[in-house]
């Protein structure tokens, strides 16, 4: 369970201050398939970075299963990310010198898993996204859709409880975007992994179970409806 309590985030841009988030309250239960939707600049990335424990809020608290992320050391936060979080990036962010399979193995090996075991798990994950055939290709030999599927496999490799995806389809054509969202949804159903992804494309919201609308750093829709259940 993720709890966002009274979170505000302010960026400094020279003299001016940009309030990227303003008093955000949000609870996400495990197993949810959540979309954060809003126009560009509304604060989606900022919010996801906080949930992903790669950034700290200026105000308020982010709790992960009751644990305040702000109270963790950098090493502890790294471990948290490695064990319980998965990331899917807009730009895929695959490591170019590694093959698809090796990219999927990466978070497991960062966590200290033996190469032999990591390879087995990664092979299964690549099978989940139907990429066994290109397992030994480097990213530059893959299409955009394939790359994003590799990165989904990588995000899921370590059996995380939450997968965070910041505009995962922004660099893909709309057909591919649809399949990627479907794939994520399928995996969410199958494994009960929480998915939180952002998008500004409303055509992708068909499969979304919970929609959080962000505007000007504030949640204008979907903030608290699931917070009880």
């Amino acid at each position: 369970m993720i709890e966002i309590k009274q979170v505000g985030n302010t960026y400094r841009l020279g003299e001016t201050q940009v309030h990227a988030l303003r008093g955000v309250n949000l609870t996400i239960q495990s197993g949810e398939f959540v979309s954060i939707w809003g126009p560009s600049g509304s604060g989606k990335t900022t919010l996801l970075n906080l949930i992903g424990a790669i950034d700290e809020p200026t105000r308020g608290d982010v709790l992960f299963d009751g644990q305040n992320i702000g109270h963790l050391s950098d090493n502890k936060r790294s471990e948290l990310r490695n064990h319980t979080l998965g990331f899917i990036f807009q730009g895929f962010n695959l490591v170019p010198v590694l093959t698809a399979l090796e990219n999927v193995m990466l978070p497991l090996q960062i966590g200290g898993m033996s190469p032999h075991k990591a390879r087995k798990v990664a092979e299964d994950r690549l099978a989940d996204v139907k990429l066994e055939a290109v397992a030994h290709h480097r990213p530059d030999k893959l299409s955009g859709g394939q790359r994003q599927r590799v990165s989904i496999a990588r995000a899921l490799a370590g059996n995380p409880s939450v997968v965070i995806a910041d505009e995962p389809t922004a660099n893909l054509d709309s057909d591919t975007a649809m399949t990627i969202i479907s794939l994520m949804h399928e995996l969410n159903q199958k494994e009960q992994t929480t998915f939180v992804f952002s998008t500004h494309d409303d055509r992708l919201l068909g499969q979304v179970e919970r929609l959080i609308r962000l505007e000007d750093g504030q949640i204008v829709e979907g903030g608290s409806n699931a917070s009880v259940g």
Binding site: G52, I54, D55, S78, L85, F87, V95, I110
Partner: protein, 412 residues
């Protein structure tokens, strides 16, 4: 660990041109150190042999205590008696590492051809034992005529410039004059057995070598001023010095012992000069390696900022990022050294093939340029340069590792 090595290796190959330039810089640095090292090693080897055998210093020289400090002014008081020489020989000959123990008597005086005379410096040596001491040098030394003979005590060897000045040639006659230890003038007739080249201009017009017994006769004494000890390995010089000093003092002998390198000023000076040059080359290589690796790795770190952000998001710790780049730096150093080994071996082979010669200062004839291949020294150098490259990589990597993950991810 292995997969990180693999990743490091692939990253080294990522920017081939840049890595190649860096590897090449390390390799050139490595091979210049190794080749110079190999050259000095060979030179030291040669200098050591020419000091121990060529100059006839042996490994150790036993003097009466005080000889080196006061013996110049007051030689008579710092001589070893016949009994002492015999006792030393007897004690040392039981040691299997001692090959030879031989007494010598050195001195100076005037040598003449009947018309003119000039200064000489003489070494009085036991002919057969001296031949043993010099080993291959005894036969290699260019000599016109013959050598010292036990059964011809008045026959001497004369340095070539001295012989030329006095217009003496083998079988020619001359006279040596000197004051005895009692202060009497003494003169003896000599015959030139042979003429030799000392190897240095400074001594070629002064030196003569005479039989030990004839030197004793000239200075009217039955004593010696030193005992030369030849060992079977030069490496045992220092431990044997300690051991022999204790042994002799336990047996009531008041002596002081000098090693061959303490006695060979030339060796010490040449080594000092080479050490300076080595330090100079070494610091240049050090700076080149440090700068080129640091530069390459800084560029790699900046280019891969987004990748660093990704890895951090996937849970790699700051230390992990540093280690990843450190490994890459070390690998670059290691690969550079590997290429360096190849260049060094090729360089050695080339030198062997060409066989160049040169005439070192103070030497009278050209000697071949030889470079020794030193695997141990190269292994040490590799380890050192790898560590250096590792450190050069860790500095920029640490900066990147400590950076904000979000900012790293946003880096383009």
């Amino acid at each position: 660990m292995l997969q990180w090595v693999k990743i490091a290796f692939r990253n080294v190959l990522r920017n081939k041109r840049r890595s190649f330039v860096t590897l090449f810089a390390i390799a050139i640095g490595f091979s210049s150190i190794s080749l110079f090292n190999g050259y000095t090693d060979n030179t030291y080897e040669g200098l050591r042999q020419s000091a121990i055998q060529g100059e006839g210093l042996g490994h150790l020289t036993v003097f009466k205590k005080g000889w080196n400090e006061f013996g110049k002014l007051n030689p008579a008081q710092y001589l070893l008696t016949q009994a002492e020489v015999q006792k030393i020989a007897q004690l040392l000959k039981e040691d299997p590492s001692v090959v030879l123990v031989t007494p010598q008597l050195h001195g100076s005086g005037l040598v003449g051809n009947g018309v003119q005379s000039t200064i000489f410096i003489a070494s009085g040596v036991v002919p057969d034992e001296d031949r043993l001491l010099r080993g291959e040098f005894a036969t290699r030394r260019p000599i016109v005529g013959g050598t010292l003979q036990t059964d011809k005590p008045y026959a001497v060897e004369m340095a070539q410039d001295l012989a030329r000045q006095l217009n003496l040639s083998p079988n020619g006659d001359g006279t040596i004059m000197a004051s005895t230890f009692d202060g009497q003038m003494n003169a003896l007739g000599i015959e030139i057995a042979g003429i030799y080249d000392t190897g240095t201009a400074a001594t070629n017009d002064k030196y003569i070598r005479i039989p030990f017994s004839y030197a004793q006769e000239l200075y009217d004494t039955d004593k010696a001023d030193r005992v030369i000890v030849l060992l079977n390995h030069w490496q045992s010089t220092l431990p044997q010095k300690e051991r022999i000093a204790t042994l002799l003092s336990q047996n009531g002998l008041e002596v002081e012992i000098k090693t061959w390198n303490e006695r060979s000023q030339f060796f010490v000076k040449v080594k000092g000069m080479f050490d300076m040059i080595f330090a100079f080359i070494f610091s240049i290589v050090l700076i080149i390696v440090l700068m080129s690796v640091a530069n390459t790795m800084s560029m790699a770190v900046i280019e891969r900022t987004r990748e660093i952000g990704t890895l951090r998001a996937l849970g790699l710790k700051q230390r992990g990022v540093s280690l990843m780049f450190a490994l890459e730096g070390a690998m670059m150093g290691g690969l550079g050294c590997l290429v360096g080994v190849a260049i060094t071996v090729a360089g050695c082979a080339l030198i062997v093939a060409i066989g160049p010669t040169y005439t070192p200062p103070g030497s009278s004839s050209p000697i071949p340029l030889i470079v020794n291949l030193l695997p141990q020294a190269m292994a040490r150098l590799t380890l050192f340069l790898m560590t250096l490259s590792l450190l050069a990589a860790i500095l920029p990597a640490r900066r990147a590792a400590k950076g904000n993950v979000v900012e790293s991810l946003g880096h383009v």
